[in-house]
Amino acid sequence: MFIKENFKMALDSIFANKMRSFLTMLGIIIGIASVIAILAVGNGAADEITTTFSELGATTISLNANDPDQSGDLITNDDLNVLKDSIEEIRYISPNEQMNGTVSSEDEARQTVVSYGTPDLQFVSQMMSSTLVEGRYFNQVDFDEAQDVAVIDEDGADALFGRVDVVGEMIRVSVAQSQMNLRIVGVVEGSFADMQGAFDTSQIPLFVAMPHSTLSNQVPQLAGMDSVIIEVETTEQIDPVSSQVVRLLELRHNSVGDNVYNATNFLQALDQVNNVLSLFINFIAAVAAIALLVGGIGVMNIMLVSVTERTREIGTRKALGATTRTILIQFLMESIILSLIGGMIGLTIGIILSNIIAGALNIVPIFTMGSVALVLVFSTAVGVFFGIYPARKAANLNPIDALRFE
């Protein structure tokens, strides 16, 4: 039997009963459309999250020391210098810690968040902009000599002094019951520059950054660190650098194998988020697959009706020389084409639907060749699986019984 004739016959019989064929396909259309929409929107969301995370820190390692007795000497400023000198891939290394306190000029006192670290703090901290508008950031010399210097942002300068060119002015910072007089060496871009007038910024704490060494001298209980941020050049360096850092610290602190240090990164967190997300996507897709299953049962039902209705036709075809196999292929072809057309309509609706949903969620839907292939394979499979029983029923009819059927 020629494929072309079979194909035409299947189409003829599908189009002869347009409404019925459409209703039969409905389950498949709904199933495929939901699967496509869920996959496209889900993948779009996953991609959005990945991009956001990567911008945040695809090259960032977060090093933590497990310090149950708060000894505070598991990571020292010396360690940071040694790490930076001996591991070439490390671009920046700094603790990134904050303390709440107050900051005052002669005229004004305000709540503040004090960030402290190495001069690399400017590159690893998300707290303050690293774009200078006045002066300079505190540098290695300031750090090594524990100079009493600080960097504030434009908003802080404005709040304390009423102007921005405040390099050389003194501020008084108090944290943990200790007071420090610090000289401003630089002013960075204001954090709320673009929110001017939006709301009362006087209630928002100011931002101050200073060398960790200076703070350690003045406030000995803050000398220790238990977490450090390390920036490397590329994502690929994250794993090797992480293990080098941990090994070196273990050697320096005689704690090999004690599991004191561990290095994590955003990518691991990202993996976790993506795992949860894909679990969720798969769950919803499974629910949609049940709709497909119901659609398949619909196909089987209609094919069974069709076989009964066309019993005499089948008998006639057999009288004219159709074999069991020919009839089997004819009916199987019909259910496959029915499912495939349903799948195509579902695919189209799914694409439209995911653009609407993704538009509302402000993400870009992602259609993979995989999901299109999935639709084709799945609808064909539904057609074969649910078509085989009715087709066999038709094919195995005895010619004379079929011809006599009323």
Binding site: K318, A319, L320, A322, T324
Partner: protein, 235 residues
Amino acid sequence: MIEITDIEKIYKMGGETVKALNKVSLSIQEGEYTSIMGPSGSGKSTLMNILGLLDRFDSGRYMLNGTDVSGLSDSELAKIRNKEIGFVFQSFNLMARMNVLENVMLPLVYGKVPYKERRERAIEALEKVGLGDRLEHLTNEISGGQKQRVAIARAIVNRPSVLMADEPTGNLDSKTTLDIMRIFQELNSEGTTIVMVTHEPEMAKYSKRIVHFRDGVIIKDEELTPELLPEREVE
């Protein structure tokens, strides 16, 4: 060509058994035009279905063109039906969604004949039954007599060795009945072997031989000189 010996066919309905054919023996030669007559329920259709390889029998022997058909598989039987036997049914049994030409081409599709040849042969067969100008019509757009002529074209398109017709004019009026009888005579005069079931002597008189049936047995087998119908006038 057709040679059956002691064919028996038994139907079981619940507890009852009906012997539809009781040791029937019959032989039909190439070029014959045979009518099978008998009252309703006498076993004519049962015999026809067995001769046409649509049904199996319980005992006896059936040789078709020298082949014992009782040992053949379903698909071998399908192939023989396609190549050697042309059927004309009382209720036409045309494919409703196909046009006239496609209906006639269908046996050639199953016979794996390429499209071009299929079309040529189907048109040739349709011209033979006087429907060369109705190729694209759907089967619900033509009259009963025309439908049966399409069915005849379909039956002869694969040049079978025998044409089998079970009450072919049962659903037709007397004028179209004569048209069909005329076509049968023409086909037979060109060499087609025909076996026709009928219960009307009016029809049987156009054939060359009448086999009389009653209660599953042949009661009379007569040769006759057929009454010739006039040539078909051009429509």
